[in-house]
Amino acid sequence: MLAEFGYGILVLSFVVSLYSVIAAVVGEVKKNQKLVESARLAMQLTFPLLTFSSISLVILLVTEQYQVSFVYEVTSRSMPTYLKITAWWGGQSGSLLFWSWLLSAFTTAVTLRKWDRDREFLPWVVLVSSVTLAFFLALNIFYENPFLRFWQTFNGEIVKAMLAPEGALPFTPADGQGLNPLLRHPGMIIHPPMLYLGFVSYVIPFAFAIAALVTGRSDDRWIRITRSWSLVAWLFLSLGLVLGGRWAYDVLGWGGYWGWDPVEIAAFMPWLTGTALLHSVVIQEKRGMLKHWNMLLVILTYSLVIFGTFLTRSGVLSSVHAFAQSAIGPAFFIFIGVTFIASIALLIWRWPELKSEAQMNSLLSREALFLLNNLLFIGILVVCFWGVIYPLISELLTGQKVTVGPPYYERATGPLFAGLVLLMGIAPLSAWGHSTAKTLGRAIWKPLIVAVIVIVAFIGYSLYAGSAAITNGYFIYAAIGFFVVALTGFVTLYEFWRAAAARSRAQKENIFTALWRLAGRNRRRYGGYTIHLGVVLMAIGIIGIEMFQVETQKSMAVGESVEVAGYTIRYDSLAQFRHSDERWVTRAVMSIFRDGQYLGELYPRYDLYPDGQPMTIPGVRSSMEDDLYILLVNWEGVTAEVAPFKIYHNPLVNWLWVGSLIFILGTFIAAWPEPDADVVPTRARRQQLSASAAD
């Protein structure tokens, strides 16, 4: 009964969202404000409706209603209740409903704002949001229905249907299949909602951009309204990516955090255009330039969000993430094609009206460097996009399947990432409007000298200590990388210090109070710098693990030791026991020593779930210097006497995680809501700024 209720509400939501689309269009065409208002209310109604539908599904999951096929596929009796709830997004149809529910929540939130000043945007924002929502609901209703039930026909066949086929009886399996063990990790429980939140948030800036295009408003109003949405979207997407990386590091058992898997890249691509957009919209706000480019970026971001969902949901790629395969591919493909072409056509139509209000005066000005930043982000996007779709093209044209793996991406994107980090160090020192090599040189020399001293000290120490790193073929690249990172890090810290010290002197404040108040006065700027600091720390971790990781595999007898990167690892014992949730746990005890000193024990293990799914959990000793990461290699045959271990030494990897936290903190600072002080149009604002600069 609950399944029918949930499904009925789902269909009703679809009908309401279609009504919202039609009412918005007709209301706008006939200039009927009541109809537009009705469209807005209809869109808001989808949220409570989809909440009811989602609650129905969650109740079915928690109460073990295995006659519902989705419940059977993603839960089992042995799973704890919280996992039964999170199984909502653990399978294809449930996760699509989750997507729709989040989208309806966000679009409802955005339509609750005051529309007094932007009334003309309203029908178009409602239209774009409702079209997107209707599309995802259609997928749920026509292709991936989470409420389908099992029926047993006369000839004993089990079929899935919403209504009973003729003569069929309801069928209830005794237990469910259970959630894929890999998806039971806390990182993987939170990772999809974060990504989805990021994805759906980007629908809002896109909806406003389209509204601005249709209504012909060429100012930066749409950017100012959606600034917080873009930052929130970016925050969630970043969180999703970081959590995904941490999950991979913790449970996938290959000692890394990012494997350039097509599905990882699917989530990374909208992040790339989103990051480019965050920078380039500032140019439009400050100087009234790059209007076409910003429109193009927001269209690309939206299309990549849908494309990313398509890649993960359609089964077009088979990889570790693509646990779901279904027949929804063509529908996605058509939707992406139609929305992209329509958006681009709209942009071309409005092209002449989106002229720049200012000119680029200097190749070293802040705006020119931001443009270069955009070029690098788009360069990385091209590499990623092409790497993901080339195997499909190859298979389509020649029938030959190929793999585009990490070596391709690392070689192609490495220099582009290094360029971006370098730009992060230079751009904050350049001025809007005009900068010369001389003014830049004057600003950068102090951090540059400190960076040179640090890198010379690093190389000198490595040579003096006879560090193994020197013999590593990547040492020179690592040294260049560390230099770039050090320069950018010091520039960012110098920027904080310079302004805080000036305020501290002027206002007679303690330096920390000065810094706090300064950041409070300009959250976007100092939030941005905090993000840059986070990236610098992350880059240190990435250089450490990518260039200096050491790995070895060895079958060890009890009592036997192995030496890895200065550590002595001794295999002490092995135990096997059954966990309360019915998985079999095989757990090794390893003693760790360094320079003869005992450091503690590690417990690498592998879990075998009742459905035969294995999961390898490493034993990890973590410090800011390095991670010692030990895997019990279950696939090589483990006995009580001899067990194979794979041991990774990952230098500096924790800088990546600490940097991620600072990165997220910076995004919070930047995204923290500020009063909407925007009443000054761009040109007037520019004149005001020019006047204040000339004071």
């Binding site: 570790v320 680029m360 360069g379 091209v382 030959q400 793999t403 302004a499 390898t616 696939w635 600069a693």
Partner: protein, 159 residues
């Protein structure tokens, strides 16, 4: 000098033949797990996509790693083993598409597009600059807000 060129292949034969015989007679040491993984890392699981062979937990992959160990023990080089896998399972077992035929596209398209992007950016900036020069040089806009301008001003006064 030319007269003696015939001598070079002969000389090579004399020098290399005993070495070849010696290496053929030398027993190949038993490959370690690390030797096997060094090759397996470069190959992708032919059945489960996008997973390198050295970390793939399936039974099939364990057998393929055993095969690599066997081939290494027989004295095969890494390149020989890779070729063997490509012959057996197709180019998809390689971490990157082989540089031949249509596959060149995968390597050429991104740099060409990036170069095009650099060119367009350069042209745009140049043309904007020229236009700007013919109109009037805009005054420097300064920093993000009034407050910071004052901070900057304060800094300048103190230096």
């Amino acid at each position: 000098m030319k007269r003696f060129t015939w001598f070079i292949p002969f000389l090579l034969l004399v020098v290399l033949l005993p070495a070849g015989i010696a290496s053929a007679q030398e027993p190949v040491p038993t490959p370690s797990d690390d030797d096997v993984n060094a090759v397996a890392k470069e190959l992708y699981c032919p059945v489960c996509e996008n997973i390198p062979l050295d970390v793939c937990p399936t039974q099939a992959c364990a057998q393929w790693r055993d095969l690599i160990r066997l081939k290494l023990a027989e004295g095969w080089s890494e390149a020989d083993i890779k070729d063997y896998f490509v012959d057996q399972y197709g180019a998809r077992v390689l971490a990157e598409p082989p540089r031949s035929g249509l596959n060149w596209l995968v390597y050429i398209v991104p740099p060409v597009l990036l170069a095009l992007g650099v060119f367009i950016l350069y042209r745009t900036l140049r043309s904007m600059r020229n236009t700007a020069e013919t109109i009037a040089p805009a005054p420097p806009v300064g920093h993000d807000n009034d407050y910071l301008n004052r901070v900057e001003e304060e800094l300048r006064k103190r230096h």
